[in-house]
Every structure is written in C-alpha cells, then in structure tokens.
C-alpha cells in the first residue's frame, strides 16, 4: 500500500463491553461523527487484552492501537482495569524499546455515558497516528513493498 496523499491510518481499539463499547454505542445513538479509521474489537473487560494481542496488531500492520476500559474504580468486574493500567505502562516502554513510537499505543478510560469523550478520543488518536504516518518500524507486510 504506497502512501498516497489522503492516507488513512488503520487503528484497532480494544473496547470493554460494559463501559467504552456502551459509550461508543451511545455516540452512535446520538449520531455523533468521528473519523472512520478506527475498528473496535469488543472484549468483556479491558483486563482481557493481553500484551500479545497489541504486539500482534502492530506486527500485522496496524498504525495505532487503543485499549479502552472503565474508569478505575468503576470496573464492572471491580478490579479489571487496575491490571490493565499496570500491564500497559510496562508495554509502552517495550514498544519504545522495539522502535515503535509510544504515542501509537494509547490507553483511555471512557465510561458508558461518555459518548462525547469516545468521539473526541477517536478523533484525537487518529490525528496523533496520522501525524506519525504509517507504522513501518515493526510490520512484515509493509517491509516487503517498500
């Protein structure tokens, strides 16, 4: 995929079913508009997302990955997002170590009623990733073409 002028980043968002996914649905109900380059992958809790999935996404060519869950303290499973917070603090350093710009990976807390925050977060992250350009550091497929 050569980089054309209207290049659209491909961003994967792991969203917890109880909070962020609900917030995303609410954004739809309110007909809010946000960039179309984010694909949501539903998980029961943000603590279900293993660092392996994030690395796999970058390896397979994603330009940005988000892990979104409930605000700490509001987790439907009481403590899930505490593990999320700790796991992905460590992962950010590892991504940097691997030469991936850490800004490509974002963790955000969005509750079921924060439809506006979901829209703004998607817009913000897609802008960040668009500025960073395609993820060339760590992906097989793009390496072959370039």
């Amino acid at each position: 995929m050569p980089v054309n002028e209207k290049w659209m980043p491909k961003i994967l968002a792991f969203c917890c079913n109880w909070c962020t996914y609900t917030g995303a649905d609410l954004a739809g109900l309110n007909r809010m508009k946000y960039p179309a380059n984010v694909r949501v992958l539903r998980v029961p809790c943000s603590s279900r997302v293993s660092p392996q999935f994030v690395l796999r996404a970058f390896q397979k060519g994603c330009d940005g990955v988000m892990v979104c869950g409930c605000h700490p303290g509001d987790c439907h499973y009481t403590s899930g997002n505490y593990y999320t917070r700790r796991r992905f603090m460590v992962l950010k350093e590892m991504l940097e170590f691997n030469g991936i710009e850490p800004e490509r990976f974002q963790t955000r807390w969005i509750s079921g009623s924060e439809a506006g925050k979901f829209r703004d977060t998607v817009a913000e992250v897609s802008e960040i990733v668009t500025k960073l350009g395609p993820n060339t550091a760590f992906n097989e497929r793009r390496a072959e073409n370039v």
Binding site: W18, A24, R31, P44, R48, V49, C62, Y77, G80, Y83
Partner: protein
C-alpha cells in the same frame, strides 16, 4: 472447513442509507469459509430470522455472522433463534455496522470499507468459535432489602407476600424513613402517618420478613442467586425480647441530646424511641449520648427503674452472615446540608430559617409542637412566612445542577397548610418554575394559589435579620423589579442528596454511582430498577430524586424483578467463562491471584507422566463464581486458562483479519 453464513441487515435505512450493504454482502461472500451471504431489510424481524433458519437448512451452515446493530441490542435475539436450529447459539458473531459505523460516519465509501472490515473480523473470529453449553447456578430464594423507608417496606412486603423470605435492614433504630416524618402528603393531603404506619406494622409482623434495625451491610460476596452478605447489627443495649416498650426508662433518663428525627427542633433522651409510632416500638440506647456508656458518669438509672431487667450495658455489635439470592437497594435520600453552601441565606445562624423537613415536624401532630406552627426562636405564631424553592438544587455554583423533583409540590402543600392553620397568615413563595408533572398535581398547585399563596417568580439573593424581621431580597422577574419581603419565618425547600454512606455500599455491591452519588441504573428508560450487577435491584430515591408515588411504584417493580429471579430454582449461567487445559497448566497460580471473584483455585491432581503418576497442582475454575472477565486468560503465560467465547485464538484471528 467452516460453513459460515453472513447476513447483512439494512435496518430500514439506518444502515442501507449510510453504506452500500450489497457490496458488504458481496465482499463477505468471497471470504474464506463463507458459504452464504445475503442482505435483508430487517434481520431481527420474524422474516429476517426465518431467512437465517432457511439458509442453515439449505446450505448446511454451522456458523452465523449477523452484520447489523450493536450486539448489546440483538445478540440474545439471534442466540434464541439458533436454539431451535442445529447450530449451537454460541457459533454466532455480530458485526456492529450501525451504532459504530453507519450512524457515525458521513463518507459513504469509508463507511462501506469499515463495514467490510468489521464483517471480515467477525467471520475470522467465528471460524474459531466452539459450541458452548450453559451451566446452571442454584438460586437461594431469600431477598435482602437495604433501607426501610417506604421504598424498602413496600418492596419487602411485596416479596414476602409472593411467599419468599426477606431480610429488611434499617440503619436507624426505627423503620419508616423520611415519609413517616411528614405530616400530610400531596396531592391528596392524606396524613402521612395514617398511610405509612399500617405498612410499618404489617412488615414488622409479616411471617416472611426478618426486620433488623440498627443494621448496615458490612461486606458482600458471591454473585446473583448466591450473595453471601455480612450484616453489622449495632448494639441496642436493650433486650427487645424482655422489653415491653412501657417507656418508663425514657422518662427517667437524665441525658438530653438534639433529636435527629425531629430535625434538631427538640431534644431526646439517650435511651429513646425516635417517635411515638416507632416500629419496633422499643427503645435503644445511643452510646455516644448515654452518660454511663460514654464513660462520663456512673448513671445506670434506666437499668435501675426497668421492671423487666431488659437493659444490658454489655451488649456488643453483632456480625451476621447469610446467603441471599437478590438484593434491593432502597437507601433513600438525605436533605443537603444547606448552611455551609448558602452564607447569603444566613448560613444557619437564624433559627427561624428552617428546612422543609423541619417545617414538617413543626406541623406534625406528633412533632415537638404538637402540630402548632410555632417558629423555633420564640415559639410565637409566625404571620408572614416566605418559602424559598430550589435551595441547593438547580445551582451549579453550589455543586448540584439537578432538580429535586418533589419540592414544587410539597412547597405548594406547605403554603396550603400554613394558610389553613394560621388564619391571617401571608405566604410568599419565591420560585423559578413550578413543576407539576403528576396526576392532579396542577390542580393541587391551583388550590395553593386559590388559598392565597403569593407566588413571586425570582430566586432569593439574600436573607438577613433586621429589627426582628427576616428580610428576603428577591426580584419579581415578571414585574422586573427587585423587592424585599419581611418575614417572621422562612422555609427553605432544600435539595435531595443520596444517603451518606451510599458510595461505600455501592463499592461493596460493585455497582456504580453518578457524580452526585445517585446509584446508576442499568438503563434509565428500559431497566430503571436494575443495576449492572445481576441480582441487585433499586427502589426509590437512592436512584435519584422522586416523590412517594414514583418511589412506591419502583418498589413494586423491584419486588417483581426479585420474584422473576426467584421463580426459577436455578438460573442459566453464561457459558462464556474460563476453562483450563490442564496439560498446559504448570500451577504458577498467576490466574488465582488476578481473579476478582476468587473463582480459580489450585487443585492437586494425579498426572500420568512417563515415569508413572505424579502429584502436581493445576488451576481449576468454579463455573458458578466465574463472571467471564478474562483477566486470568491475559495473565496466563502458557495460555492454559482461556476465556470461552473470547479465546486467545478467536481474538488473534480477529486482529489478523483486520490487518489483511
């Protein structure tokens, strides 16, 4: 090789209007493993579901992908559909191409591209789905109702009348909550005690109800159908089995403390019943104000005079643990502490500036003034009275933007009562809006004006005392002029706020509250009496400000929900729980540590190895306790424990599919 069917829904024009559904179906048709792809105007309709049944039969499909609205809407609908087909209900994936695609993107081309991606992810994931079968959880048919105001009482009565056991908790020493403090209730003006005390005695005498006053929830474990709850019952220092409620001790007790029930308008003794019609009608000793228990003096008068020896100073708090199938939260409200918020209304230094509840105690026959409206400062009959509405409500600056809903009506009631009881009284009501959203409410407001209440539209800016009068400064915005109204007494209709310890209780029940502390209902319109935690229900003002009619209606609804739960001996647990592949498990117990529900334990097993059988530890999941969060699956280094329905394989497939 999987034989997948993909069904793309138009959803009328909701989806078809924003993206090219035909192209999505066509692209889906070319995906590996897809045997059949079609679109239909309304997949969730009867005909849409029939289309799926026919396609399964005709093409021998074993996996289904529906590209439609959010799975949170119709996943269950399509699972029920698959129940009576050869396809297992969990061989199904939903692609959300409405709320998260059609409705939120304006560019038709990009939306179609995204929809195709989402379908490709769903097809990839479904290829790794496995048939799953539900496990069943026993239901303890015993309910716990927290809070014994009118909401808790009504819910407990309804559940008990349905034949189930109920434990009704109340943190105060008598049940009745705020309703029993009131004199009359709107819009019919019938006496509050006359309609609530019968219910109080009925619930106290009901064979199925165990009433526990002075009790709060210490901790909650378990899950729907099997909550194990520890209750702390405060020491009463009076043995209620011996005591007959004769009241002799109350007359002799020397300690005098302000009465919380009477809103600080009069005092009560250390050994006391909050009000004459208290249920249970037996006193308790308040350890802080009792001279003997607080160590101030030797006293012990009550013990000496008690003919039945019911006083027991050695009484201790009790911790009782029990298992409940359902919990109803009915913790009610408190009035906001207005004094620190409103220095411009005197900040509490004027005794004749009182709250609505203090007024209710004044006008109540069992109140400190036996129903005569006398102002607290000099017990004289106030002639000019000002009622100020929205004190603490609808005021972002003071921290609460919401409307407390009931004050418009009860301020009209207050105005009516004053004009009724004090012949030549002059009542001025400062209001912004008068909201009468109920049956006969508007007519009730008309009557208050006909009685002569003067309604002035404008919010009071300042109340101060000068030459014996309380001057209320407001603007009559309809007249466009500022005005000073001198008054003998001012009634502030203050905002409702949640009960003080609501946040701790919600943390224990793992249900959330909004920024003000009102308990978060599962869905404001469709599931108002349920919470996010299955088996925990809501009733009354703990969920938000409301009046008595709505509270009682909600109490009945919550009771109905409990009865629905109890109508089955066991409930179908979700099959999407963790499972352990014991060959891969090395017993490192990482999963045991992260599980919020203590659902994973290490078991010792005999494992056949090359050199004979060896004893080793492996993880084991308790199907009843596991709620399917998946924290263990992410913590497991070897992938031994995995979450069925969201296995590592499924998610990795979904990630790969996105990046083709």
């Amino acid at each position: 090789m999987s034989r997948t069917g993909v069904f793309v829904c138009h959803c009328g024009s909701n989806i078809a209007g924003a993206l090219d559904v035909e192209r999505v179906a066509e692209a889906a048709g070319k995906l590996p493993g897809v045997r059949y792809a079609a679109t239909y105007k309304y997949m969730c309709s009867e005909q849409g579901q029939q289309l799926v049944r026919d396609a399964i039969a005709e093409h021998g499909l074993d996996r289904i992908v529906i590209a439609s609205c959010s799975p949170r809407m119709h996943e269950n609908t399509f699972r029920k559909l698959l129940k009576d087909t050869p396809v297992n209900p969990y061989m199904l994936e939903i692609a959300n191409i409405r709320e998260q695609c059609a409705w939120v993107h304006t560019d038709r081309e990009q939306a179609t591209e995204k929809a195709i991606d989402l379908v490709r992810m769903a097809v990839a994931k479904v290829s790794k789905n496995k048939p799953l079968h539900s496990s069943f959880i026993p239901v303890h048919k015993k309910a716990l109702v927290i809070g014994a105001g009118i909401a808790g009482i009504q819910a407990a009565l309804d559940i008990a009348d349905a034949g189930y056991e109920v434990t009704l908790l109340e943190k105060e020493s008598s049940i009745g909550g705020h309703m029993v403090m009131l004199d009359k209730t709107f819009p019919t003006l019938d006496c509050s005690a006359c309609i609530s005390t019968p219910k109080m005695s009925e619930v106290a005498a009901h064979p199925n109800v165990t009433l526990m006053t002075g009790s709060t929830v210490e901790s909650v474990g378990g899950y729907v159908g099997n909550f194990d709850v520890t209750i702390r019952q405060k020491a009463k220092y009076v043995n209620h089995d011996l005591c007959t409620g004769c009241g002799l001790c109350e007359t002799k007790c020397p300690a005098k403390v302000t009465s919380e029930f009477n809103q600080q308008l009069c005092t009560r003794t250390a050994i006391f019943r909050p009000f004459p019609q208290a249920v249970p009608a037996k006193p308790v000793i308040d350890p802080d104000s009792c001279r003997k228990l607080s160590g101030k003096a030797r006293c012990g008068v009550c013990q000496a005079v008690c003919p039945l020896g019911a006083i027991d100073f050695e009484d201790k708090d009790k911790l009782i643990t029990d298992t409940y199938g359902a919990i109803v939260v009915a913790t009610g409200y408190e009035l906001v502490d207005w004094a620190p918020l409103y220095p411009e209304y005197g900040g509490g230094k004027y005794p004749d500036v009182i709250t609505g509840l203090q007024y209710e105690r004044l006008v109540n026959a069992s109140g400190p003034t036996e129903g005569k409206i006398l102002r607290p400062s000099d017990k004289s009959v106030p002639k000019e009275i000002v009622i100020v509405k929205c004190v603490g409500s609808r005021d972002k600056k003071k921290g609460r933007a919401y409307c407390s809903r009931a004050c418009c009506m009860y301020s009209a009631k207050h105005a009516h009562q004053i004009l009724d009881k004090i012949p030549d009284a002059c009542v001025t009501v400062f209001y912004m809006d008068v909201r009468t959203p109920g049956k006969n409410y508007e007519e009730f407001y008309d009557r208050a004006r006909e009685d002569g209440a003067r309604y002035v539209r404008g919010r009071v800016a300042k109340i101060f005392r000068e030459n014996g009068k309380l001057i209320c400064r407001g603007e009559d915005t309809l007249l466009g002029r500022s005005v000073e109204v001198p008054a003998d007494m001012v009634i502030l209709e203050t905002a409702m706020t949640p009960a003080p310890e609501i946040r701790e209780l919600c943390a224990r029940l793992s249900i959330s509250t909004d920024e003000y502390g009102w308990v978060q209902e599962a869905h404001p319109k469709l599931r108002p009496v349920e919470t996010q935690t299955a088996g925990v229900y809501l009733a009354g003002t703990c969920q938000g400000p409301k009046d008595i009619p709505d509270t009682v209606a909600q109490a009945g609804a919550a009771a109905a929900k409990v009865c629905i739960l109890f109508s089955k001996n066991e409930i179908e647990g979700s099959p999407m729980i963790s499972a352990v592949d014991e060959n891969k498990c090395c017993g490192c117990s990482a999963c045991v540590r992260v599980c919020p529900y203590r659902a994973v334990t290490l078991e010792e097993i005999d494992s056949r190895e090359i050199n004979g059988t060896v004893k080793r530890h492996v993880a084991r999941v308790n199907a009843g306790l596991c709620q399917g969060c998946g924290a263990c699956a992410a913590a497991c280094r070897t992938g031994a424990i995995d979450l069925l329905g969201f296995t590592n394989a499924q998610i990795l497939k979904e990630v790969d599919a996105l990046c083709l």
